[in-house]
């Protein structure tokens, strides 16, 4: 397990308020390569807001976010290249086929050249559905298209916002092994879920409850 000395992502006294509600304040933590952090906390504690802020979607926050010790505003291009964000909605375009979805993704994000779209689709078990429009696929299969996207992307950091909603047990299992493998290969994952992940290796839980 490679732990580079420099942290991939450093968050220094991050605080966020939405409307009149103070979500979390003075949040400090670091994300190292090979580490999986689960963000837990009561509902409405700002888990999704935290991921939005880290992914660069929202810019309403106080504090600093550093990617390899540089503020993300200065290295935004490099930061976006190494980040893959998966929101609540799975960002799968239903009128397109899984293959077209991935082609669309590969045209925008840097992807790994050692695998191909077909190989990745087979890896997630969409062998026979490569050319069927996603509208006809089940929720589980749509989830796998998002999974395939994560696999083929060359991002070093994954930010996953409740990836396990509406998935059956086998899907959750497959996703967890994928996260573990990615972490072992030096990736870093930030994930919010309602239940604990059974992942071995460098996995810890960060509770937003004690930063309210």
């Amino acid at each position: 397990m490679t732990t580079s000395s420099k942290a991939l992502l450093t968050i220094q006294n991050l605080s966020c308020e939405r409307g009149f509600r103070q979500l979390f304040q003075q949040l400090n933590f670091e994300l190292f390569a090979g580490e999986v952090i689960r963000i837990a906390g009561p509902n409405g504690a700002g888990k999704s807001t935290l991921l939005n802020v880290l992914a660069g979607i929202s810019s309403d926050f106080d504090g600093d976010i550093l990617y390899q010790n540089q503020p993300i505003k200065d290295v935004s291009y490099e930061y976006r290249e190494n980040l893959c964000y998966l929101g609540h909605a799975k960002a799968v375009k239903t009128p397109l086929t899984p293959r077209e979805n991935l082609q669309w993704f590969c045209s925008m994000y840097p992807t790994r050249s050692d695998t191909s779209i077909d190989a990745v689709l087979e890896q997630v078990g969409l062998m026979y559905f490569k050319d069927q429009i996603c509208a006809q696929l089940s929720a589980g299969q749509k989830q796998r298209v998002a999974l395939a996207r994560l696999i083929i992307s060359a991002a070093k950091i994954w930010i996953l916002d409740e990836p396990f909603t509406a998935i059956d047990q086998s899907g959750v299992q497959q996703f967890e092994t994928l996260i573990a493998e990615f972490a072992q290969d030096g990736g870093a994952v930030l994930v919010t879920t309602h239940h604990a992940l059974n992942i071995t290796g460098n996995y810890r839980c960060l509770d937003l409850g004690d930063y309210l």
Binding site: R18, G19, F20, S59, D60
Partner: protein
């Protein structure tokens, strides 16, 4: 020069703006009341009758100042929009939102008084004159910005959206004014000139200048009042606001 930049920089913090404005509000209140009453008395009572329009021309003393304010308020809003989008100063958003309200109200006044003035002069309540038409378009742009700023639950998003629309509007307003003027010249020819003031003698013109000055002071007063109310509302959780309440 350093202190000037310092001044503008500190103006960005709501707390400091609130303190400074508490001195300015009485000053501008007195100024606008004084100038307004002087202008109205001079305009309504002492200015001579216009040989063509009789006494109905006296409406000019509120129609022209409000159209001046309507346009200058828009460009102030565009400036604040740029400041807000670049530096994210909270105060710029607050003043931007109050500008939208005041600008819309001033444009409304200009339109209504223009229509009322048109009736005795041209016999119709609404005349599609170039100035009135572009004023109507400006009114809808104000309403669009105001509605957009209220459409989002989170205020800062509403302000950002309103700021973007204000900047888009800034590019469009000169084009709209130019194309409406051109359109008016194409269709009507120069017969119907509501805005082309006949050469006014000084007794008529002087009250107009006083009224324009009075309306600008009123405009600053209104911005201060609206911004102060908005500061108190959005910072009500902060300690310095709580200390203000005994």
């Amino acid at each position: 020069m350093k202190s000037l930049v310092q001044f503008f920089f500190k103006l960005g913090s709501p707390n400091w703006f609130y303190k400074v404005s508490s001195y300015l509000v009485p000053v501008f209140a007195l100024l606008s009341i004084g100038l307004m009453s002087w202008g109205l008395v001079a305009g309504l009572l002492y200015a001579p009758m216009d040989f063509k329009q009789g006494n109905s021309y006296r409406i000019i003393y509120i129609h022209v100042p409000s159209s001046f304010i309507a346009l200058s308020c828009y460009y102030m809003m565009a400036l604040l929009a740029a400041v807000y989008l670049i530096w994210r100063t909270k105060m710029a958003a607050i003043v931007l939102r109050s500008c939208a309200v005041i600008g819309a109200a001033m444009t409304f006044i200009a339109l209504v008084t223009g229509a009322i003035w048109g009736k005795p002069t041209w016999g119709t309540w609404w005349v599609w004159d170039a100035r009135v038409t572009s004023m109507l378009v400006l009114f809808f742009i104000y309403m669009g910005i105001f509605a957009l700023s209220k459409a989002y639950e989170r205020e800062e998003l509403g302000s950002k959206a309103a700021a973007i629309l204000a900047l888009v509007g800034t590019v469009n307003i000169p084009i709209i004014y130019w194309s409406v003027d051109w359109w008016f010249a194409l269709h009507q020819g120069a017969t119907l000139k509501l805005t082309e003031k006949s050469a006014m003698d000084s007794a008529m013109l002087f009250p107009l200048l006083v009224m324009i000055a009075a309306t600008y002071c009123l405009y600053v007063l209104l911005i201060l009042l609206h911004s102060r109310a908005e500061i108190i509302r959005s910072e009500q959780r902060k300690q310095w606001v709580k200390d203000l309440v005994k």
